[in-house]
């Protein structure tokens, strides 16, 4: 039935081949134009698992307390001392400039120059205080000395001023949406503006500008992602050279490359059509599409070439290659697509985008490389030496196939299977130690020595603040902060959590109220307590404005900020576990401690979402591959023989992650699904040739040998092509691309080995010869 359908399809297409090719050309022009309109796009909101309970808390209180999307600009004086007129002029300019950059929440811009930066001091008859930078400030020596005194009184050293007075901070919160236009903030444009308006204008020999925050990171990632173009060119050139070595024909080299590039153009164009941008995270997809396209194209040209060598005309050979490869190629590509579609189940925006853009791309390959390619080839005339004396290459290949075919004999099969089992269990132990989350300090997407990470390290070294903040939101009833027992519980919570490894310091309304109470008592530390009387408590709380971020308008919500040592997954897990344990004992009708906000709160949610998604994703992707194999082979044994090598290789890939210190994160989670989806191709190509021969009673070794002769070189070639396509990422400016590159290269190569070594060994066991 299927055969009839394919035959009908073939004769229709080849009869109207000029029309069909013309349509392809038109569509390519249209989508090529669309692709040229494609924009880089990175939004904070896409990176977080919105439906996770932490993120629900985060979103609920984002308006009152700002989110995790902040920007910090440290202005450093390279002399190591900020108290000079030139520096203060620059700092003021930076403050004013940041204030006016669209997208900045102007009420949340904080620095020495913001009016909310005040000092108070205790004098004999009460308090004295004022803005740290007085209204009549001038950059004279007296003026600077006054500011220096005020800075110490204001207690802002470490936050707004570096501990060694070598730098000062200007910080701001960003809005996710432009309040005037209602459009989402263009993070990458914003980052470019920071670079131009701040660093471009104000960085000199004397003053250095260090900028960190999600927006800046996204901008730097986007910049790094642009370097990918070079890798793309390299990948094309290397692939071209390989295809030429394989086909020994310029025309057979160019056509699969052109068709694969067409697939890339279609994929990028379709992204614009459906209204997506290209996220730096998804920039790997064009590579994958190209590499997968080439590998299927190679199967086609291999088949055509073989048939031409057998004496057929190019047109007949193309049509016959089309017929024989449409089903196995289609099944393989479908299982790739399904592998990607399973990623849609993960509740993180960018992974879904990756899933959609990758499945689009792979779907497109069915059209461009399984249909268009044979059609285009049929217009050409391929000259190959007619069948005669085998060339030395063929003799060598034949020796290799003979050698490989031994894996399909019981004797060798046992050895291979035992080795496979051994490496599986060795790998499993390592794989179980695989870490979740980002394992490096700084921005994990970027290299440790990138400008952004150096800026991060500068700020964490010179200031007491860190971007590794997790916020626990305390939800209570209105006016809750006027009750001694409420604040006492928050205070106790804060103290217990501070005593957790990984928490460096904490702050909450309770701990600040204690200090204010000491302030009301002549600054005497012996009064650093929460006063029992409501009047004294209200008096202390009254000094703390809502702009401090410690309470909302009616003080029904009071965050506890946890400043953490780093954002490694283990650190986050330890702190989250402690918060949950303490909260479980303290939560009651009046008071709940809820996770989480702040950058590390977002990471905690992401880590949990990623960890939770891992198992279902594997089940879906393997389930899909299983069903597809079962449909195409109609054999349980064949299906199992394809899937076992895949599974062993995924386990080994996880072991590799442990060994290379690569954590399971948003960027690496899709890799296994991609690796399985694509890795299954090899097995399908080999077994689809074998299975009909096996069911006709041919011995396994012979069937495997014939499969190798027909498709072995193409399979090995495919593995190498794919590996080359992604291995160029090893040199990427972006750490996560490097990680993905390493893992995908491993998956592609080792899956190929699995298909030509483990698969025949399994087949030898499954289709044992009756004695």
């Amino acid at each position: 039935m299927l055969e009839k359908l394919v035959n009908g399809f073939e004769s229709f297409l080849f009869r109207n081949r000029a029309w069909v090719v013309s349509i392809f050309i038109l569509v390519t022009f249209f989508l090529g134009y669309q692709a040229s309109q494609l924009k880089m796009d990175a939004a904070f909101i896409k990176n977080i698992p919105l439906n996770h309970s932490y993120m629900q808390t985060y979103l609920k209180h984002q308006k009152d307390f700002g989110g995790a999307n902040s920007i910090m600009v440290a202005v450093e004086d390279t002399s190591g001392n900020i108290f000079n007129p030139n520096y203060f002029d620059t700092l003021k300019n930076v403050h004013d400039q940041l204030f006016f950059i669209p997208g900045v929440d102007r009420s949340q811009v904080k620095s020495l120059f913001s009016p909310s930066t005040r000092f108070t001091e205790v004098v004999e008859d009460g308090f004295a205080g004022g803005p740290v930078i007085p209204a009549d400030f001038a950059t004279t020596e007296t003026g600077l000395n006054t500011v220096r005194d005020n800075i110490e009184k204001a207690g802002i050293v470490g936050r707004l001023i570096a501990n060694d007075y070598s730098a000062a901070m200007v910080s701001a919160q960003l809005m996710d949406f432009d309040p005037q236009t209602g459009k989402p903030l263009d993070t990458i444009a914003f980052a470019a503006q920071l670079e131009k308006e701040l660093r471009g204008k104000y960085e000199t020999d004397k003053v250095k500008i260090h900028i960190i925050g999600f927006a800046k990171m996204a901008g730097d990632v986007a910049d790094g992602a642009k370097g990918v173009l070079l890798f793309f060119v390299i990948a094309i050139l290397v692939t071209a050279a390989m295809v030429y070595l394989f086909s020994k024909s310029i025309i057979l080299t160019l056509l699969p490359l052109i068709c694969s590039l067409t697939a890339v153009i279609w994929q990028l164009g379709l992204l614009t059509v459906i209204g997506f941008g290209l996220d730096p995270m998804s920039i790997l997809v064009p590579f994958l599409v190209f590499a997968i396209g080439v590998s299927h194209g190679v199967q086609i040209i291999n088949a055509v070439k073989r048939r031409v060598m057998d004496g057929q005309s190019t047109k007949a050979a193309s049509a016959s290659a089309f017929r024989s490869l449409l089903v196995p190629g289609g099944v393989a590509l479908l299982s790739d697509t399904v592998g990607f579609i399973t990623l849609l189940f993960i509740d993180i925006g960018i992974i879904r985008e990756l899933a959609i853009s990758a499945s689009l791309g792979v779907g497109v390959i069915i059209l461009t490389n399984l249909i268009l390619l044979p059609l285009v080839i049929s217009f050409t005339e391929i000259n190959v030496p007619p069948q005669g004396q085998p060339t030395s290459d063929e003799v060598r290949a034949e020796a290799i196939w003979r050698y490989l075919a031994k894996f399909a004999t019981p004797k060798y099969a046992i050895v291979v299977i035992i080795a496979t089992i051994a490496s599986y269990f060795a790998g499993l132990e390592k794989a179980n130690q695989m870490k979740i989350g980002d394992l490096q300090a700084g921005a994990p997407a970027l290299h440790q020595d990138s400008r952004y990470n150096l800026d991060t390290f500068f700020i964490t070294d010179h200031f007491s603040i860190t971007t590794d903040v997790m916020t626990v939101i305390v939800e209570a009833s209105p006016e809750a902060c006027t009750y001694h027992d409420v604040l006492t519980q928050i205070d106790e919570f804060e103290w217990l959590v501070r005593n957790t490894p990984g928490v460096e310091s904490t702050v909450s309304l309770a701990s600040v109220a204690k200090k204010v109470n000491a302030g009301f008592n002549e600054g005497n530390p012996r009064w650093e307590v929460l006063p029992r009387t409501t009047a004294s408590l209200v008096q202390a709380i009254g000094q703390i404005p809502t702009t401090s971020g410690l309470l909302n308008g009616d003080c029904s919500v009071m965050p506890v900020y946890l400043f953490m040592k780093d954002h490694k997954a283990e650190t986050i897990e330890t702190v989250v576990a402690k918060v949950k344990a303490v909260a479980a004992k303290m939560d009651n009708d009046k008071l709940q401690f809820k996770l989480a906000s702040g950058p590390v709160g977002v990471m905690a949610a992401t880590n949990e979402a990623v960890a939770e998604a891992q198992l279902p994703m594997m089940i879906y992707v393997y389930g899909a591959v299983f069903v597809l194999c079962l449909i195409s082979f109609k054999s349980f044994k064949a299906t199992v023989a394809v899937i076992i090598p895949l599974y062993v290789v995924s386990t080994l890939a996880q072991a590799l992650m442990t060994m290379l210190n690569i954590g399971l994160a948003v960027s690496t989670l899709p890799v296994i699904a991609l690796g399985v989806g694509i890795g299954v191709d090899y097995g399908i190509y080999i077994l689809s040739t074998m299975s009909s021969k096996l069911s006709n009673g041919m011995p396994v070794q012979q069937a495997y040998y014939e499969a190798l002769v027909e498709r072995g070189s193409a399979v090995i070639f495919t593995g190498l092509t794919l590996a080359i396509g992604v291995s160029t990422w090893f040199f990427s400016a972006l750490k996560f691309q490097m990680d993905m590159g390493i893992l995908l290269t491993f998956m592609f190569l080792v899956n190929m080995l699995g298909a030509i070594i483990i698969l025949p060994a399994l087949a030898a066991v499954f289709w044992r010869q009756p004695k």
Binding site: V123, E152, R498, N499, F520, E522, A535
Partner: protein
Amino acid sequence: MSFRILQCVAAISVGCLFSSPSFSAQSERFPQIQPLAASSLVLDIAHAGKQLVAVGERGHVLVLNDKWQQVPTPTSVQLTKVFFLNEKLGWAVGHDATILHTQDGGQTWSLQMQSTEIEKPFLDVLFLNEQEGMAIGAYGLFYRTRDGGANWTEEFHEELLAEEDVSYLAELKNSDQAAYLTERASLLPHFNRMIALKDGRLLLVGELGLVAMSADKGQNFTRTGFDYDGSMFNAIQLQDAVYVMGLRGHVFKADLSLAQWDEIDMPVKSSINGVMAASETSLYLVGNAGIVIQLNQDDSSSIVTRRQGENLVSIAKDNQGNVWLSGSQGLLTLKP
């Protein structure tokens, strides 16, 4: 704005009708021993014989062995002072009118008194012998024991009231007994520190320029000729000179007659909380803004160190010769 007034308002709103101390045990939901106890707010260090014992926030008590080790206590309120009569017997006092007692050099503690109703902290404790002791605190809080702390009774030191307050109280006592008690509870200044001079007289310093002397074990105090209005937080005798010190870096010196106090010029304007004899002829003063000052007999002084962003409250030397500071960052050694 005067915080003195604000505190009075706060205290009046509830009043002080305390008669018998009530005892409350600390909740046992979470362990009191925590890794950061030695690096959170520590308010006093005292010698138990040769050993140092420190007290701080959340009822923390720490004992210095090779390093500071936290020991459990029956309270979680802030402890403000600790006093040891000898290497075994000690008392610690704090907020919620708490008095703790140890008989084993600070290893175990029992509660002698605690009352949330009093709503005033004890700020110092002094024992003259195993039986007789006094605990003093905010708004003239004054409790005395004659049985080693088994029973504590309140005393009101009317003699330290300002003159106009005396007549005001006398009037009120006749007209409105309840209002009289309420007012009385908040008219006296904070008693911050009481020390025994070498001749046995007691010197009491406190809020609003209170510097008073008692020659009868604290039954009656008389104000000395001290005419600065700010609070004094500490006092010490060095040879034949008596020093008091407090708000905004004010330090005064008098001879043993305590008749005339001369102000000593200080290099900083931060409040001074703690003091220790550095040698026969010099003192170490510690205070807010992380200052440690050496003050010599000839009134010359120098800043030893300034720990930015910290408040230092107490200073003591251990038997190895290390000088320990305590304050907002807990216990740390003074690096000369």
